[in-house]
C-alpha cells in the first residue's frame, strides 16, 4: 500500500470546470502580483498536493513554528517555510481578507486569499534554514535578495505552468494510482539534481533490492551555476534506464521545485514531498542537498532521528566506490580492502572531465550516459 499523504489528506487546490471559469473571471478584476518561476512552481506544487497538507503559502504562525520547531503550527513535521515574498509597493492598499491574482509571464496562475501579511528577518531565516549567513552559500544569497514582506493564504490554481518535460510530469494523485496499478506495496523515492554516475546506480539498485519499486524523481528548475542543465539530467536518465534498469520496477518523473541547498532540513522536505507522491521509503544520500562544506557528510541522516512521526522510512545507504580487489561497486561496510584499491566516484571529478570533453571511464559512468552528456555543447547551468 502506498504511504498516506503527509497530514492525512492529499490536497487538491486545482480549480476545474465551471468553478475555474468563475474564478478566472473574478481573477481578471483583481490586483495582480507577478511571481517568479520558482514561486510559480511552488503554487503548482501546493495545488497538486506535492506539499500536502499545505493549502497555500504559510501564514506567520506556521512560518514561525517551521523556522524554530521544524513543525507546522499543528505539530506536523515541516522543515523549510514555503513562503511568498512581496514588496510593499506590490501590496500597497491590500489587506488581510483581500483576494489577489498571482501571475506568471502575464498569465493568471492562481487566485489567493491573503490571510496574513508579515515581515521576515531574512538573516534569521538563513541562520535557521541554512545554518549560516555566509553569502558563499547559494541559498543565503538568494534569500537575502528576496523582497521584504511575506504574504500567507490559501490558493486555487487556475492555470498550470508550462512544463518542457510534460511527458515526465506526474502529480501525486497520478503516481499514487500508478503505484497501486503496479501493485507496489513498497516504493523508494530517489531525489536528485545530477546526472547519474555508477555510485548513484549502486545506491538506487541497493534500495530497489528491498522494495517493490523505485521512483526516480529529479528536481528541475532553478539550480546554481555549474549544476547540470535539466534536459541533460533527463536525457542521461533516459539512457541509463533504457540500458540498465528493469522497466517494471522503475518510475521516472520530474518535479519542478527549487533546490534550496539547505542540507539536513531539505532532506526532510524532500522526504515529505516523496511521501506525498506515495513513496514508503526515501533514499537519503551522503551530504544530501548540501553545498560546499556547509554541512557534515551525514548530517542529513542524523536529522531523521528528530522525526519519528515523519511517516516515511529513510534508507541510509552508504556512499559507494569502486574497489579493484572486490571487482565492483561496494561500500565501506562491505569492503575489507585498503584505500589504495578504492576509487571514489566524485561528482566534482566527473564534472571536470566532462568540462574538458574527456570521457570518464566505465567504472565511473555508463558509456551511454557519457555519450548523452557530451552531445550537449554545454551541459552546465551558466
Amino acid at each position: 500500500m502506498v504511504s498516506k499523504p503527509h497530514g492525512g489528506k492529499l490536497v487538491n487546490r486545482v480549480a476545474t470546470g465551471r468553478r475555474r471559469e468563475y474564478l478566472l473571471e473574478e481573477a481578471k478584476e483583481l490586483r495582480k502580483i507577478s511571481i517568479s518561476e520558482s514561486l510559480a512552481a511552488d503554487v503548482a506544487n501546493i495545488a497538486h498536493g506535492v506539499y500536502s497538507p499545505l493549502e497555500g503559502f504559510m501564514v506567520y504562525d506556521d512560518y514561525y513554528h517551521v523556522l524554530y520547531d521544524m513543525r507546522l503550527a499543528n505539530d506536523i513535521p515541516w522543515t523549510i517555510p514555503i513562503v511568498l515574498n512581496v514588496s510593499r509597493e506590490e501590496i500597497s492598499g491590500l489587506k488581510e481578507g483581500d483576494d489577489v491574482a498571482l501571475t506568471f509571464k502575464d498569465t493568471i496562475l492562481a487566485i489567493m486569499e491573503i490571510e496574513d501579511i508579515y515581515k521576515w528577518d531574512k538573516k534569521e531565516y538563513c541562520k535557521k534554514v541554512f545554518k549560516t549567513t555566509d553569502t558563499r552559500h547559494p541559498g543565503v544569497t538568494k534569500t537575502l535578495r528576496r523582497k521584504e514582506l511575506l504574504i500567507g493564504g490559501s490558493i486555487y490554481l487556475l492555470n498550470d505552468i508550462p512544463e518542457p518535460f510534460e511527458r515526465y510530469r506526474l502529480w501525486p494523485i497520478e503516481t499514487r494510482i500508478l503505484f497501486e496499478a503496479k501493485r507496489w506495496r513498497t516504493i523508494a523515492g530517489f531525489q536528485t539534481r545530477n546526472v547519474p554516475h555508477r555510485g548513484h546506480e549502486y545506491v538506487q539498485k541497493a534500495a530497489l533490492t528491498f522494495v517493490d519499486g523505485l521512483f526516480i524523481n529529479p528536481l528541475v528548475g532553478w539550480k546554481k551555476p555549474g549544476d547540470y542543465k535539466d534536459e541533460v539530467i533527463v536525457k542521461a536518465y533516459e539512457a541509463l534506464i533504457e540500458n540498465y534498469y528493469p522497466r517494471n520496477s522503475i518510475v521516472f518523473s520530474v518535479l519542478r521545485m527549487e533546490m534550496r541547498y539547505a542540507g539536513p532540513r531539505e532532506a526532510i522536505l524532500h522526504a515529505i514531498v516523496r511521501k506525498n507522491f506515495g513513496c514508503t521509503h526515501f533514499i537519503v544520500g551522503r551530504d544530501h542537498a548540501g553545498v560546499g562544506d556547509f554541512y557534515g557528510p551525514y548530517e542529513a541522516w542524523d536529522i531523521f532521528k528528530e522525526f519519528p512521526d515523519l511517516g516515511i522510512i529513510p534508507m541510509f545507504i552508504r556512499e559507494a566506490f569502486y574497489c579493484s580487489r572486490c571487482g565492483g561497486f561496494v561500500n565501506e561496510k562491505i569492503c575489507p580492502h585498503e584505500e589504495e584499491f578504492r576509487v571514489k566516484v566524485s561528482g566534482t571529478k566527473l564534472r571536470k572531465m566532462i568540462m574538458s570533453k574527456q570521457k570518464p571511464p566505465e567504472y565511473m559512468m555508463r558509456p551511454e550516459v557519457v555519450e548523452v552528456i557530451l552531445s550537449f555543447e554545454n551541459p552546465f547551468v551558466e
Binding site: 498516506k4 499523504p5 492525512g8 489528506k9 494523485i173 497520478e174 499514487r176 500508478l178 496499478a181
Partner: protein, 71 residues
Amino acid sequence: MSEEKVAIHISKELYEKAKKYVEESEGEFKSVDDLVEFVLKEVLSEEIKEEVFTKEEEEKVKERLRALGYI
C-alpha cells in the same frame, strides 16, 4: 462519540508497562484507560484519513498514464 464505556482485556505485563508509563507521564495521562483511549484514537484516526479516489478520477488518471506509456 458515546460516553458509554466497555471493558477490554489486555495482558497483565502490558498493563504494568502502561501503568508505569502513566506514572511517568507527569499528569499527561490520568489512568491506563486514558492512555489506551488516546493510543486507539490516534491509530484509528490514521485509518479514517485514508484517501479514496472516485472511480471517475481514477479512470481519467489511468487514461493519461496509459497515453504516456507508464501503464
